[in-house]
């Protein structure tokens, strides 16, 4: 039975929640923890990653018929590394303080498993349109994940959101949350919360079914 080709819309929606790169697939954890002490660096990171993901997905999809199977990883890596260099240089030229703040985490996008897995799973097999939809969907999923962690950490750790002070300066903040241990604790709790919500939804969905049986 041939599997029907997924439509661009399906791919797009799939990337956001059902196959969220961070919460469901546990990919791209390094930036999720490292740059989420505040919203601004987190969103810059999402922008850079999305740029690389979209460009790499489009290129691999365009050349998908020419790829030799045993050389494909080499091609993916070359493509990703090129676009990461472009993103890194652009940040250094136009947003220098942010580029300094993100430091090595911009070049580390090269080894973000999320991007290479999208090239491998989706774009090297599908048309550019589907690949583009997939890349945008996954980027939005990544945005959602980073935004959630950064929101928790910045509000608890610094009392602000996107640099805007939310609670009075004199209010005690949980400095731990903007330190490395806080990143692990925040993501761990959010992962637990996501699983719990997932379980609850599944239980609700199966309840009437179980009742009728």
């Amino acid at each position: 039975m041939p599997v029907p080709e997924p439509t661009p819309l399906e791919r797009f929606l799939n990337g956001i929640l059902p196959e969220n790169p961070v919460y469901r697939q546990l990919l791209g954890l390094c930036p999720t923890l490292a740059v989420t002490a505040a919203m601004k660096p987190a969103m810059t990171m999402v922008g850079a990653t999305a740029f690389v993901l979209i460009c790499a997905n489009l290129i691999t999809s365009l050349i998908r018929h020419l790829l030799k199977p045993h050389l494909r990883i080499l091609v993916f890596t070359l493509t990703i590394a090129t676009f990461v260099t472009i993103a890194d240089r652009t940040l250094a030229a136009f947003a220098y303080p942010m580029s300094k703040l993100l430091g090595p985490y911009v070049p580390l996008i090269i080894v973000n498993c999320m991007i290479i897995s999208r090239c491998e799973v989706c774009s090297s097999k599908q048309s550019p349109k589907t690949a583009l939809a997939d890349a945008v969907g996954v980027s939005l999923g990544f945005l959602l994940a980073l935004a959630s962690v950064a929101t928790v950490r910045e509000i608890l750790g610094n009392g602000s959101w996107f640099g805007i002070q939310l609670v009075p300066e004199s209010f005690p903040t949980l400095i731990l949350m903007i330190l490395p241990p806080g990143a692990f604790l925040a993501l761990g709790s959010l992962l637990g919360l996501a699983t719990w919500l997932g379980h609850r939804r599944k239980a609700r969905a199966s309840e009437p079914h179980a009742g009728s049986a």
């Binding site: 050349i63 020419l66 790829l67 050389l71 070359l78 240089r89 652009t90 330190l179």
Partner: protein
Amino acid sequence: MSRLRDSYLGQGWLILLLAGAFGALLAAVHLKLSPRIEDNIQAEITREIPGLLLGAEVLEGASIKIEGDLVTVEPAVGEPRVLTIVEQPSEASALYRVAERDPGHLLGWVARGQDHGYADVIELLVGLTADTGRITGIYVLNQKETPALGDGIVRSDFRRHFVGIPTDRPLVVGADAAQSRYPIQALTGATVSSRSVCKIVNDTVALVKVEIAEEPEGSNARP
């Protein structure tokens, strides 16, 4: 035909082609952006130099323009001032000679120094008067000290302690400072960071003082 397909060239032509294309793309990006990146890196230091020598008050509401080694400071009130900043050869990470362009007199020196702090390396800019007799200010370029404790060294209320202190004797901090005329108040809970900053200032000042003293008199008169 099949031999060609099996050869390395037949296998790898796509990679070679891509490498060529990406190489050209990167070269274009590099040529276009690298002057801007260089400027950014340079400006990061140059921007802070006027504040170190003229005092933080002058810079309040002022705009700073950088063109090559000329820095124009336009304060909210009063005349704009144009400074020439020239990097000097030095044993310190960097040493800048700062002069007022129009009267052409030497305003002071700014040196860059670094050493281990509590968590990682701390990098500082230290401003000195023209005769290197007093510190005119310090600025923290890079640090990774503990948030909310050691990173207080970047705050202006800590850095203000250093302004105007004579350089004839090394700075001392905290408990060792009881007999000193110019003690530096250590940050609460961050004695190590405060001590490191003082050490960097002392080392840099000592190095630069010797170097400037060795320089021929004539160079001071240069505009």
